[in-house]
């Protein structure tokens, strides 16, 4: 569904992604693993064209999305859940969802506010609260819910478990499993291997912006030396 090939991205002069290649098959949850600073977030942003890669190709459903503006990529069905959450703190929960709302898309679930409140009951109670009044976990749920309002067929989920309470992490894992069962394809960046194991089928490990491992999570578990070499304890 997503093919990233030989992508190079820079921040100013810093070369962050080096000939990065990875692929996300339809219907799978792929965990993008790597240490802090390995380039996970830059990978997400490069796919979304929030960081413009200097070279390389990015295909979504066979069509090149490199050089498209971010809103067009979103319109194609790519949902982006940023690591920093970036919810609109001055807007209410309902208004945040409204910003994400897009027309229904063929082959993807058409989400409504009510469905999302079923998925994230905490948000339902807070629908009229402003974003800044939410807890970290609630903000994380809101940012996922907001992206789902765009009825994506594929989402980029950047470190959803970062900085949220263990209960919420568990809830998040259930949500991702449910989304997967509804046919959503997910590229999930994670430092938390435990969390990745609970939800992902495939794993890609990157180090210094280049792919160093690709395979199933099962295979990865059988090779602890790779884990120790590239992932933090």
């Amino acid at each position: 569904m997503l093919e990233v090939e030989n992508v190079n991205s820079f921040y100013g002069k810093a070369h962050v992604l080096r000939d990065l290649t990875l692929s996300v098959p339809h219907g799978n949850v792929v965990a993008l693993l790597g240490r802090n600073g390995a380039g996970k977030t830059t990978t997400m942003k490069s796919i979304m064209q929030l960081v413009r890669p200097a070279s390389g190709s990015i295909l979504f459903n066979g069509n090149s999305i490199a050089n498209l503006p971010p809103h067009k990529i979103a319109k194609l069905g790519v949902g982006y859940v940023p690591e920093e959450r970036r919810i609109f703190t001055d807007l209410t929960v309902s208004e945040n969802l409204l910003v994400g709302k897009q027309p229904p898309r063929e082959g993807a679930v058409t989400w409504t506010e009510a469905m999302l409140f079923d998925l994230f009951p905490n948000l339902a109670e807070r629908r009229s609260n402003r974003g800044k009044a939410l807890s970290g976990g609630e903000q994380q749920m809101l940012t996922i819910a907001r992206t789902l309002m765009g009825n994506p067929s594929f989402i980029l989920l950047d470190e959803p478990s970062e900085g949220v309470a263990p209960v919420i992490v568990e809830q998040m894992a259930k949500v991702i499993q449910q989304l997967k069962s509804e046919g959503l394809t997910v590229l999930l960046s994670e430092q938390n291997l435990h969390f990745a194991q609970a939800v992902a089928d495939l794993a890609v490990i990157i180090e210094s912006g280049a792919q160093v491992y690709s395979g199933t999570l099962k295979e990865l578990n059988a090779q602890p030396e790779i884990r120790d070499a590239y992932l933090a304890a």
Binding site: H71, Y80, V99, Q102
Partner: protein, 619 residues
């Protein structure tokens, strides 16, 4: 009591236009992060277009239809401005778009002059609303009553649009994080254009609505800017209720001011603003400015380094050429070069603040004109010799800058910028209205240098010495530890503070120093011309300096000077033509679009490409 109520009602009616224009400005800034200086020009266009429509459309329907159509027409003009001028430069460094809006101001000024001529137009009376209502025995124009009744409805409609519709939600979301809005599938370009159209339409509507009260003239673009900035700052950027309340406060105050303190109406507005900001730094309903958190474009600042030998050689050659000018140049060439040198110093002093300090002052003319006026006042009222004036005037300007800086530096970003502009306008209004001391509009004349400088050649050398000396001092300071501290404060206030730099103090000193140098330029100016008029303190003068600094290149040390030399030279050429503003405006817009790094930045880029200069430093 009756009189009091009548005054209050007049004030409320006057608030109408001010509110609409301020709302538009605030809306546009919120989403696009552009302080649209051309907003006053759009307001002016609204008045002129409304006037022409009213001439052709009869009756009450024609009158109100004209107002509405004027709003729509200006909205369309706004779209043109956004698409043609601003869209190509959204990705340019922050604030660079400002310069483009200056260009738009000049273009609109001349187009208006070409289409409608130089005479002030008397606005037509609203049909059926010619007389007055008697309220508690006091006559209130009927049109005023209508205005004060409909304004709250317009405000309500806007409030509904912003708070209750998806468009409004998107606008508010984009105000906070426009990149994220884009990542969620919203086409920012359409949103920006839409917001620009709406904001412009509001300005046009405001211009047309005030026709029966004020008419249309070619100065209204600049005249509305200061009150609008004041309203936006007092009300709080992006707040509708704030804008309304502030517009009412300013207008009511103005009406009472005319009655009780007719000499100080202009000053009063700024006094109120300063008081409000002392108590509530981000305005009555405003929030702290968090621009730049997300979605801002711009490369990290490059370090600056001392000029390379080849650059030094070029500069030395240029200076030698200047020093020889009296040998081969005409006296006209010397006068023109003196003007250019003085302007270069003025621009360099602003560049010091803007480029190195990251402090965008919209009112740097306050210190330039201030220095000129202090010198002129000393000569006129104290009979002081030129030498004393040369000593005291820059000092006075520096002290004024310290005082004003002390207030302004409590704020950051656009609030800071607007406050500096407001202070400059305050000084301007003081000078303009305090005729007994400053000569008002007639200015101060007969301010000539001492005998030993009383020839064009002597004064040329004098100006050369002080301008180049001043610029070199500014450069030197940029490379001193103080300059490092200033740049550290610009790049990251928090980190600078944690390394022990008192950023507040450093920035205040920089502000004072830049004021001093601006004052020196002003003093040089007044003795070269022998007179000074309030226009040396005007917004337009501050803008001149901003334009050259941006055009020259903010991020290059030589930017201010190069821009000033270029701009003054071109201006001298162009002002010989009748519609020079049009050409100048188009030229500015052109430079902004093709050379978003400014003149020096673009030359350097070319030089790097041609391997003349090494990458990684600034000269």
């Amino acid at each position: 009591m009756e009189f009091f109520v009548a005054q209050l009602l007049t004030g409320l009616a006057n608030a109408s236009s001010l509110f609409l224009v301020a709302c538009g400005l605030s809306l546009i800034f919120g989403v696009t992060r552009i302080v649209n200086f051309a907003h006053g020009s759009l307001y002016m266009l609204g008045a002129y277009i409304g006037y022409t429509l009213m001439q052709n459309l009869p009756g009450a329907v024609g009158f109100w239809g004209s107002i509405l159509l004027a709003g729509i027409a200006v909205g369309i003009i706004g779209v043109l401005v956004e698409v043609l001028v601003l869209r190509p430069v959204y990705r340019a460094p922050e604030l660079f778009q400002l310069v483009a809006t200056f260009g738009v101001i000049l273009v609109i000024q001349d187009l208006t002059l070409i289409i409608w001529g130089p005479e002030d137009l008397l606005g037509p009376r609203a049909p059926g609303l010619r007389g007055v209502y008697r309220i508690m025995g006091e006559p209130i124009p009927k049109y005023d009553i209508v205005l004060l009744v409909i304004t709250p409805f317009i405000a309500l409609a806007l409030w509904y649009l912003i708070t209750q519709t998806r468009v409004g939600v998107l606008v508010r979301a984009a105000t906070q994080d426009r990149e994220m809005v884009g990542a969620l599938g919203v086409n920012q370009a359409v949103l920006f254009t839409g917001v620009f159209a709406l904001g412009s339409a509001l300005a046009g509507l405001g211009g047309a609505l005030q026709l029966p009260k004020g008419g249309a003239d070619l100065l209204m673009d600049f005249h509305i800017l200061a009150p609008v900035f004041v309203v936006v700052v007092i009300g709080g950027m992006g707040s509708l209720p704030g804008a309304y309340l502030a517009a009412v406060i300013i207008s009511v105050l103005n009406v009472f001011g005319v009655t009780y303190l007719p000499q100080s109406t202009l000053v009063l507005m700024f006094v109120v603003m300063v008081v409000v900001l002392m108590i509530r730094p981000y305005g009555l309903f405003g929030r702290e400015e968090v621009a730049g958190e997300h979605g801002q474009v711009g490369e990290p600042e490059l370090p600056i380094k001392p000029a390379s030998n080849s650059v030094r050689m070029i500069v030395m050659a240029g200076l030698a050429l200047l020093a020889l000018l009296p040998v081969f140049g005409s006296s006209f060439a010397m006068v023109l070069t003196t003007d250019i040198l003085i302007f270069c110093l003025f621009a360099a002093s602003l560049h010091f603040l803007l480029g190195l300090g990251g402090l965008v002052s919209f009112g740097h003319a306050a210190y330039y004109g201030g220095g000129a006026y202090i010198a002129a006042l000393l000569v006129t009222h104290a009979n002081s010799p030129m030498e004393i004036a040369f000593l005291l005037a820059p000092l006075g300007a520096g002290l004024a800058a310290l005082a004003i800086g002390w207030v302004c530096l409590r704020l950051t970003g656009v609030y800071f910028a607007m406050l500096t502009l407001a202070f400059a306008q305050l000084l301007w209004s003081l000078v303009f209205q305090w005729g007994s001391v400053t000569g008002g509009d007639d200015g101060l004349v007969n301010i000539w240098p001492s005998d030993w400088l009383n020839s064009t050649t002597a004064y040329f050398y004098f100006a050369l010495l002080f301008s180049v000396g001043g610029i070199l001092v500014l450069r030197h300071v940029a490379h001193s530890p103080f300059g490092y501290a200033l740049r550290a404060a610009r790049d990251s206030k928090r980190q600078a503070e944690s390394t022990g730099i008192n950023t507040q103090k450093v920035q205040l000193l920089a502000f004072g120093f830049a004021g001093f140098m601006g004052g020196l330029a002003g003093t040089l100016f007044v003795f070269s011309k022998g007179s000074v008029f309030p226009n040396e303190l005007e917004i337009a003068r501050s803008f001149d300096a901003l334009i050259v600094v941006f055009l020259g290149g903010v991020k290059t040390l030589a930017g201010g000077v190069a821009g000033a030399a270029f701009f003054k030279g071109v201006e001298d050429l162009l002002t010989r033509f009748e519609y020079w503003r049009l050409v100048m405006g188009l030229l500015i817009i052109f430079v902004v679009i093709v050379a978003p790094q400014g003149i020096v930045g673009s030359i350097r880029k070319a030089a790097i490409r041609l391997n003349i200069l090494k990458q990684g430093g600034q000269t």
